[in-house]
Amino acid sequence: MSENGQSNGVNPDQDLQAENLPGHRGAGGEVIGVRRGMFGANDGGDTSGYGGLVRPVRLPGGSQRPYGPGPEAGWFDEVADELEGALEEQGVRPEDVIGKTVVDCGEITFHVEREELPRVARLLRDDPALRFEMCTGVSGVHYPEDQGRELHAVYHMRSFTHNRLIRLEVTAPDEDPHIPSIVETYPANDWHERETYDFFGLIFDGHPALTRIMMPDDWQGFPQRKDYPLGGIPVEYKGAQIPAPDQRRSYS
């Protein structure tokens, strides 16, 4: 197992040696942050002895075949095979397009290189063996400590024909928050991409009219990013001052 926490090909969820403690999925996976202490007290006020606790936060890492669902090869493998086959037909090496495949919580996620997203989306929709007719939209996630890939865009594709659901994940760095738009393939993503732009500042290149959708047009900043404060004022309740939600103690 590599020390830097890079994906080592072991899905901690399926690794029987993994420590299946709450909050842990073993040592594999991708480190997105480090958690220190236990009670959110960073000023030395924690005398519990847990202050020195250091735990990396790891997202589930890449999975090995068979993907499943379950211990044996199932439709996850079928989708992966078909997608790889379709990419090869177009003269593209699948490993250049799909960074890794994660099976976790009974769901499959394909991590797609951002330049290749429109091609993958088009294949997913049009290939008869894939036929993901509907994209249920894009959701952003901001991992400020995931160096070089801070902004994640997460797409869920639904197939009516085969009754399947898969997830695509695309990342972009904070300095270059660009991801190609897939509105051309899935018009349903029009508002979703605007929403994700509005909240995360992800710029979807090729979107017909990428403007703010929820926040006012002249709003500054992108509210769902982790470095954007929640805001709020302390309130008095029964004589005591209750701090604003983002000023309250958080438990690490």
Partner: protein, 448 residues
């Protein structure tokens, strides 16, 4: 675009401005005659009308921007965001359990669906999907189906009112009131329940629920026939709804429209059947479809869905066996034993006496779980439920902490509203109202 002086038409309250887009008439409280006169003189035929965001027939604070040529809508756009309250951001500063109090307020007409979808997502990340007790799952189904009834009642009521059918409005709200009474009995609240919690429910059904449910089903079944008499077979009603808001299967799939809109194209796609959750695969019910692709088909589907919901509710009532309504894992289950006190629902005095007087460990455990909450393993999950409006999807991401790292709601109304333009362009202004009503959008869910 030739600029033309309209100095003669300038009014104290009706401003006229020249912009790069042409003449803009500000009609706030203006004298309509003068504005109409100025518009008539103008050689620019294009009129853009803002409908909403405070118009009674636009479902809350939805703003429709219509480009009109005579009575025909040539272009239609939605302006949304007026009800954005930052719920998703707020969730990131509360514990996983507190999250239910926020999500229940998203689409305020379908609170149980929001709660159920969110809790199913958290449970999937926790890996306790199979540990949730049967009784909790049955009560969830029961509440969701009651909620489907109340949501469809509001659809019928508001949709009817927008057509001028005020009797339908009264009937719809009358029947919704029956459901709200049940909510009040079961959860203590008519809205914003936060009753479904990660791991199960906040508490069990109170005594007397079964009798109230039996009476309700009987009454509702009788009332449903009134809608048929009043609306479904009413020639005026049919005349207004048939052929309006057309969207075929290809359009639905491309625009991501789900729920009754998708089923009005003839595709019997219902997540309760296709991707069952909460044990829906064990219930006997049908998925009604129509092949008219129009507002009338959607109306009929919703009426029939209400009948099917009653069937499911009856099956739930038959199945309910005494048992726990929360997972056995004491590291997840909310420790409170709720009881009604003089100042409302709260911890039972017996429970407080026990933890304060006899067991310090229980007190610490209680305190930790309430203030700190439980940890959810890092990862992400997407759970979708069939809300009355369509696919309600929840994308939950955790970083292993005691608070949600990111929760995104894919609200069906948000997607369905996108198809408004496709349904309305080329039609009459009056039909915009019918088409939007057939989508049944709730801005609390759209804007979140």
């Amino acid at each position: 675009m030739s600029p033309h002086p309209n100095t003669d038409a300038t009014h104290a309250t009706a401003g006229i401005r020249e912009t790069t887009e042409g003449t803009v008439y500000d009609v706030t409280g203006g004298d309509w005659d003068e504005i109409a006169e100025a518009a008539r003189k103008s050689d620019d035929e294009r009129i853009i009308v803002n409908m909403g965001p405070q118009h009674p027939s636009t479902h809350g604070v939805l703003r429709l921007i219509l480009e009109i040529d005579g009575e025909t809508v040539t272009e239609a756009r939605c302006g949304i965001g007026y009800l954005h309250t930052g719920i998703e951001k707020n969730l990131e500063y509360r514990t996983w359990t507190q999250g239910t109090t926020f999500v229940t307020r998203m689409d305020y007409l379908t609170p149980f669906f929001n709660e159920a979808a969110y809790c199913l997502g958290v449970e999937r990340l926790l890996g306790i999907e199979d540990d949730v007790p049967d009784r909790a799952q049955i009560i969830r189904v029961l509440l969701m189906e009651l909620n489907r009834l109340s949501s469809h009642c509001v659809y019928i009521a508001t949709g009817g009112m927008e057509l001028g059918a005020t009797t339908v409005m009264i009937y719809g709200f009358r029947d919704r009131e029956l459901v709200l009474d049940l909510y009040e009995l079961i959860t203590g609240l008519r809205m914003n329940h936060a009753f479904i919690r990660p791991g199960g429910l906040s508490q069990d059904l109170p005594p007397g629920t079964m009798d109230a449910l039996r009476e309700f089903v009987k009454k509702m079944r009788k009332n449903l026939t009134e809608y048929d008499k009043l609306a479904t077979t009413n020639p005026i009603f049919k005349g207004r709804l048939q052929g309006i808001g057309h969207l075929d299967l290809a359009g639905c799939m491309a625009l991501g429209a789900t729920g009754p809109i998708l089923r009005s194209t003839g595709l019997p796609y219902d997540l309760r059947k296709e991707q069952p959750y909460c044990g829906y695969e064990t219930y006997d019910f049908e998925v009604p479809t129509e092949d008219t692709c129009d507002a009338y088909g959607r109306f009929k589907i919703r009426i029939e869905e209400m009948r099917q919901s009653l069937r499911i509710i009856e099956q739930c009532m038959e199945r309910l066996e005494p048992g726990p309504v929360m997972v056995g894992d004491k590291k997840i289950a909310w420790p409170a034993q709720l009881a009604l006190g003089p100042d409302g629902l709260g911890n039972s005095l017996d429970h407080i006496k026990k933890i304060m007087g006899t067991s310090m460990e229980a007190l610490i455990h209680h305190f930790k779980l309430v203030t700190e909450g439980f940890r959810v393993p890092p990862g992400q999950a997407y759970v979708a439920v069939e809300s009355p409006k369509g696919e309600l999807g929840v994308h939950v991401a955790s970083d292993g902490g005691t608070r949600p790292y990111r929760v995104h709601f894919r609200d069906p109304s948000f997607n369905n509203l996108q198809s408004m333009a496709a349904m309305c362009e080329g039609g009459q202004v009056a039909d915009v109202i019918v088409a939007v009503a057939s989508l049944d959008p709730v801005m609390g869910g759209v804007d979140r």
